[in-house]
Each structure stands twice: as structure tokens, then as C-alpha cells.
Amino acid sequence: MNQLFRGVLVAGLAGAALFLGGCTKSTEDVRAASVKPDDRRKMAPDFSLKDSDGKPVKLSDYKGKVVLLNFWATWCGPCKVEIPWFIEFEQKYKDKGFAVVGISMDEDGWKAVKPYMAEKHINYRMAVGDDSLGSLYGGVDSLPTTFVIDRSGKIAATHVGLVSKSDYQNEIEQLIGSRPGSGAPNHAARGAN
């Protein structure tokens, strides 16, 4: 009876270990799933706008870098939750080949955006967009809408609405560690840019 009990206990523990192991794997898969496989990524449409200093901003100038392209507006509450994260990401990853580019969709343009940039000490480049730019990206009608773009200039992840900071962080870290075009982690490349 004791042997039978021990057998059931061992089998139960083994099963629990497998289950927990499976859960861990599953969580990793879910995290990884947010970044599309390389062969399913499409090129991010290029654009040319002016930043807050009047200097040209072209997406193609960022080729070789991972870019977080964030469409937002000053009247958008959920957008404002994300902005401190993006400030932090810019600071944390800028030396690893990463950049945040903000596109404000405010109708009032810089009149609305510049005071907000100054108030929040936004440290990344900002431009003012419109519906024609949004159309290039499939119609940006809900804000925030954010595209995480790989080093080849392809869209690796798209987020419509407020998502968690850790989702962005996982994606950025995955892409920073990937060689252009490979979709695979390249730890040797970390910090090289």
C-alpha cells in the first residue's frame, strides 16, 4: 500500500513538474509570439516629416536600428500612460541601436504638442502626422497605435490601444538582439551599435 502511495506520489510530482514546465514554455511562447517571424514581416512605409526643431525625420534614416513608432495625441489618455515608458526605453536602449519616434495626430499640431513635450521632458524625436500618413500604415484610427520595427525596417509587432510596458520591453529586447533579416537572437550584436 505504501509502495502504491509512493508510486502515485512520484507520478503526481513528475506530472506537476511537467505541467509547470509546460506552463513556463507556454508563457515564453506567448511572449515570443508578439514579435512576428521574420518571413511574415512587411516593410514599414517610409515617410518624411519635420521634427520639433524643423529638421527632417525619415523612417528610412533609421535603417539598422530597432524603432518604436508611436502614433498618439495630447487628448488621448491611454497614450499618456505609455509616454513615460517610451522616455525610459529611449534612455535605456538608445546605445543599443534603438530609437523611439513619436507621431502626434493632434489637429492643432505643434501648438498642442510642443508644450506637452516640454512638460513631460520627452527625450525622443517627435513629428506631427495626419490621416494620409495614418493611411500608409493601414489607417491609424485608434490611439495609441504603435509599430515596433526591426533593424531591416520591417514591422515586427503592431499594438492598437494600451498594452503593458513589459510587452514592449520584451519585443524591443528580442529585436535588439536579432541580426537584420535573421529574426534570430544575436547576443554578440548586443550593445554593438
Binding site: G77, P78, M105, G138, D141, L143, G161, L162
Partner: protein, 152 residues
């Protein structure tokens, strides 16, 4: 037609599925004599899961719900909104002053002493900005048209 004149958002096909969140039903007709003050109800229906900022939003950065009217025969005097709800959302530290679901606003119009007798058209606009719990839609303007009949 009991539903009256329904004003529908002008939207692009790409955005149609998510941007069409607020519907306005205007009164079938406004009628009265010169110098009379008449009231008109506007019924607003907001899609489930969305809210609009009230006419008195909690923060300066939020775009209020606002009616504007223009017409040669009537003059808008006052628009009364229902009491807004104070709701907490995941993206806001404090409750926001919003409208949700179905609600009604009432506008008072004075028929101008110079108004010609017979039928004319009152035009108006409703500007609003809607959000869900996680995302916001750009501010929209709904065109409103209401027939006006000035009687003897």
C-alpha cells in the same frame, strides 16, 4: 418616421468599423411661431464599451462634447446635458467626467422675429471624442439637420 432624422458620422471605409461609435437622432421637426422659444431633444447612442467626454471634462486636455447650431430662422439659446458619470478607467489616475450608453440632450431655440413663414432647415454639428478602456478615437464631428417650420 419615428426615429426622426438620424445624423450619421462621415467616415472613411477603413475606419468604419471602429470609428462609428456615436449615433445621434435629431427631432423630426422643430415648429413654432415667431419669437417663441421651443425645445428639441437629441438622443445620443454610444456603442457599448465606449465613452465620450462630457460637456464639462475633468481635465483641460480632454475634448468636450459640444453642440453648435446655425440657422437663419432660429437661434440656439441653451443646450442641457444630463448629469455626467464619474468613471474610473485604467489609463486615468482619477475618475473622468463622461457619458456612456444612451442619453438625451435638450436644446432651446428661439424662433427669430424675422424668420420667414414656412419651412427651412436648421443645421448643426456635434463634436465629440470617444475612448474605450484602452484606446481613443480621434475627435469627430457629426452633421445634424433638422427641418424647421415657422407658423403664423
Amino acid at each position: 418616421m419615428a426615429a426622426g432624422l438620424a445624423a450619421v458620422l462621415l467616415i472613411t471605409p477603413l475606419a468604419a468599423q471602429i470609428s462609428n461609435v456615436l449615433f445621434v437622432t435629431a427631432p423630426e421637426k422643430i415648429e413654432g411661431k415667431r419669437n417663441e422659444v421651443v425645445t428639441a431633444d437629441f438622443k445620443l447612442q454610444l456603442r457599448t464599451g465606449f465613452h465620450v467626454n462630457s460637456n464639462t471634462p475633468s481635465d483641460d486636455y480632454l475634448i468636450p462634447l459640444k453642440f453648435t447650431f446655425a440657422g437663419a430662422t432660429v437661434q440656439a439659446q441653451e443646450v442641457t446635458f444630463p448629469k455626467p458619470r464619474m468613471e474610473k478607467y485604467p489609463f486615468s489616475a482619477k475618475p473622468l467626467s463622461v457619458f456612456t450608453g444612451d442619453f438625451k440632450t435638450t436644446a432651446k431655440f428661439k424662433i427669430l422675429p424675422t424668420a420667414p413663414l414656412g419651412q427651412s432647415l436648421l443645421t448643426g454639428k456635434l463634436r465629440y471624442q470617444a475612448c474605450s478602456h484602452t484606446a481613443c478615437l480621434p475627435p469627430k464631428t457629426v452633421d445634424i439637420k433638422v427641418p424647421v417650420e415657422v407658423k403664423n
